[in-house]
Subunit: 499 residues, 2 copies
């Protein structure tokens, strides 16, 4: 055991306790707090955030950290120390003046983005984006090392190991295979009826169904809660208090169902973290992409699977007997799998989703290669949407301004969404080889699936990287061909039947 690590522990525990409080306050603010609480609550939260930062970012911790790096550590301690090292590296390499200036800029940029989106006028946001990119390029220069250069530095923050080299291959394959697939099945699309999803569905009944569904796919309601917010998300106080939100629309039945099952996937991951990792720096999912793989696994591979939908649709018909009396399982299955090339990422279906991400990846790559000027971004964006999805945004608001991410300097983040879907398909394929998964979904028996994900992914938290998890689990690294095959098989089957 490392003596220095023992001395480090109180600092880590304090930071974890403060972060837990901040998560709780933040979730409370989104779901529960009265509307006029904002100003004082945020004032106090700012103090707690600073305390949490100061708890780790100080000379005593830095000294102990350096000592720990030269001492014998357990696997867990080592992971925690490396995580702390990563936080230090990122902050220490950037001059604090530039760092603080940039934080201020990002706050202003977010307001500018809001206004620009509201008025659908990119020119309001462009000067801020210009400056944000300039700062990000400066950050890259400070942070570059022998391994990581340019855009890879940013990508590494969200998904270590998934460099431009890996992502280029991934997106090239998507472009080659999925763009033609969409073209091929598009003309059969009108035959799938989704109108029954827009009938009147009582919100309270939807709420009960969502709770049933979350429990059905293995979200442990004795260690978690479900609330509501406009944009669904998952957060955790610790492994025994994992919280997610969903949203209910009276005339859009599938919205709550798939939000709930998506967030249940995230939440199960957090509930599965090992006891001795929770409330530490490595006590949550290992990366954005891996997290997204768990939510997409449940939302798409499982949640839009015909076998899975058998018992679920029965329960749904029990809940809404009148509204769904004339709807068959096949009708429902097709409706929730209908694809529609659109302009808005967050409304995209399973088939076209990753193409929305491809647009953003290609643009970010060009930005950090210095190949494009920010004033030309809307044109580039619209050209790519036309090329990949066959649609052109009607204005900036539904084009280049649709996502908040860039206003906060989150470059390199988007690819994780697409990687999540691809990793989910790879894991699903792997499980098909190990167990009779289709039968299990038919009977609603998730025990073996849960146990497998728990044993091979959830429990490790951040003590293994995505690539390590995949390697240890399947003896192979990330391979996007499974995703392509999954999409082709699935959509061919759905749309062949329409012929």
């Amino acid at each position: 055991m490392s003596k220095s690590f023992d001395l480090l522990k109180p600092y880590l525990d304090k930071s974890a306790a403060l972060d837990m409080a901040l998560s709780a306050l933040s979730f409370d603010f989104d779901t529960t707090a009265p509307k006029k609480a904002a100003s004082y609550t945020h004032q106090a939260m700012a103090i707690l955030s600073k305390e949490s930062y100061d708890a780790l970012m100080n000379n005593q911790v830095k000294e102990l950290l350096d000592k720990c790096l030269n001492e014998d550590l357990t696997t867990k301690e080592k992971a925690i120390v490396l995580e702390l090292q990563k936080i230090y590296d990122k902050l220490i390499k950037i001059p604090s003046e530039l760092y603080n200036e940039n934080r201020k800029l990002e706050r202003e940029a977010q307001l500018a983005w809001e206004e620009a989106k509201e008025k659908s006028d990119y020119s309001i946001f462009q000067p801020y984006l210009e400056k944000i990119i300039e700062n990000q390029k400066a950050f890259i220069k400070y942070r570059e090392d022998d391994q990581l250069k340019g855009y890879d530095v940013l990508l590494n923050d969200y998904e270590p190991g998934f460099t431009v080299e890996v992502l280029d291959q991934f997106f090239e394959l998507l472009k080659k295979e999925i763009v033609p697939l969409i073209e091929k099945v598009k003309n059969k699309n009108h035959k799938i009826d989704t109108s029954f999803l827009n009938r009147d569905f009582d919100i309270e009944k939807q709420r009960e169904f969502s709770s049933w569904l979350a429990n059905y796919v293995g979200f442990d309601l004795s260690r978690g809660i479900i609330k509501e917010s406009v944009h669904p998300y998952t957060t955790q106080l610790h492994k025994n208090d994992v919280r997610f939100t969903t949203h209910y629309y009276k005339n859009q039945l599938d919205s709550a169902i798939y939000s709930t099952i998506h967030e249940s996937g995230h939440a199960k991951y957090e509930q599965g973290i090992a006891d001795n990792l929770t409330l530490t720096l490595v006590g949550s999912g290992t990366s954005m992409g891996m997290h997204e793989s768990q939510s997409r696994f449940y939302e798409n591979c499982v949640g839009r699977n015909k076998n899975f939908l058998g018992p679920v649709f029965n329960k749904l018909k029990e809940t809404f007997p009148h509204q769904l009396s004339d709807v068959t399982l096949l009708d429902f299955y097709k409706a929730v799998n209908k694809f529609e090339p659109g302009r808005i990422r967050i409304e995209a279906d399973e088939l076209t989703y990753s193409l929305h991400i491809m647009v953003r990846y290609q643009i970010e790559k060009r930005i950090f290669n210095g190949e494009v000027d920010t004033v030309d971004l809307p044109t580039l964006w619209n050209q790519m949407y036309q090329e990949y999805l066959g649609v052109t945004p009607k204005n900036d608001a539904e084009g280049i301004l649709q996502d908040v991410h860039w206003s906060g300097g989150s470059f390199g983040y988007f690819p994780s969404y697409a990687l999540g879907s691809a990793i989910a398909a790879q894991i699903y394929n792997h499980l098909q080889l190990l167990m009779p998964i289709e039968e299990m979904l038919t009977t609603g028996d998730f025990d073996k699936i849960d146990e497998y994900l728990q044993t091979n992914i959830y429990q490790f938290g951040k003590t293994k990287t995505t690539q390590q998890l995949l390697k240890d689990m399947m003896n192979q690294s990330f391979d996007s061909s499974y995703y392509i095959k999954y999409l082709k098989d699935k959509y061919h089957a759905i749309y062949e039947e329409e012929e």
Copy 2:
């Protein structure tokens, strides 16, 4: 402006932010968190509690505090410094070894009390109580000064200015006037029917009614929320986020109504704190007794007033038209004012409540005068219940073991409950002289009452003591004769009609 106070401010702000987080976590735990969250959540909360304590209890703060005491301060600064001084005095005068030993003892004593109550066996709790009293006596010795001796030291923690001398007068008057009153009207009690309160009242409808009622009496729902817990209580994150709980029983309609209106009184006080005091050491109600006066004012003086009940009962009949079709306003008014000498404090009615407190006050006084041995307490308790209330507890659980307070060393706390009722009656009498309060209650016009309480009580937080508030408001100090008169007039009127 005091320079030392400016230097003190970051410490105060940090402590306030941590306390806000702890209030939020605690309320969340009682009302929202999943049931298995306890262990990790409490582990993190213990760290935050220690941080909050350390934020103020350290040498830098002590030095600044001493400097502040010799500098020019604003009224607000002075109040904050005095509050901090009070916390220091209490802790510094007691040797930390004894203090910590006692905290440990209290934790054990609470478990022993739980077991003793469960088994209705005082002998399990007696040795712990013995030791707790011994420690409290030692604390008193350390804390005594020229002004405060003996039991007064403890009373002063909850209600400064209300010494044994003041309380003796108060309780003597109660004994002289209320004990005979109860005797006199008791035999007419059977004529009042309360059975309709036990019909079936849908919980969701009760919830809606409670929300309406809280809003009706002036609880601002844009700056507060209502949840549910077994024991109703009020807490605050700050003045714009005040939270209370109530509880609903399907077959006990009055329970939620009077819990809601009682807590609304507490909550309005917290919502009325001045902007510049919230999130400071003086940013909440000035004392237990003053707080209780505000809840009792709304629960009893207002909430059980026949004029007030006019529009409220109409709304209640709208909410439960079938259940209340045969009930008149007079029936309802009498039912919610029926008195019943009982054995349990928290179930007591307005008339007998303070007699329950009198038992506890008399016993505490004898304990700290060294006039009674802990082994004799159950006998003494039962004798007093027989003498004041005409009932004898059937066992220890519904006798001496009914309250948790003593197991946590909270001696001197109980009198505040009775003082609250008495102060409420005094304020009500005062308002009757200033404004046509009965007419206002008849029409549901609370504006002038709200404005008066806001201007004369709420806004000041802890910057004025109870006695100062009363003096500034009414040009007289605490006078329990108003309370006696209020009770006698009210109950004579109700029970005369029965003759």
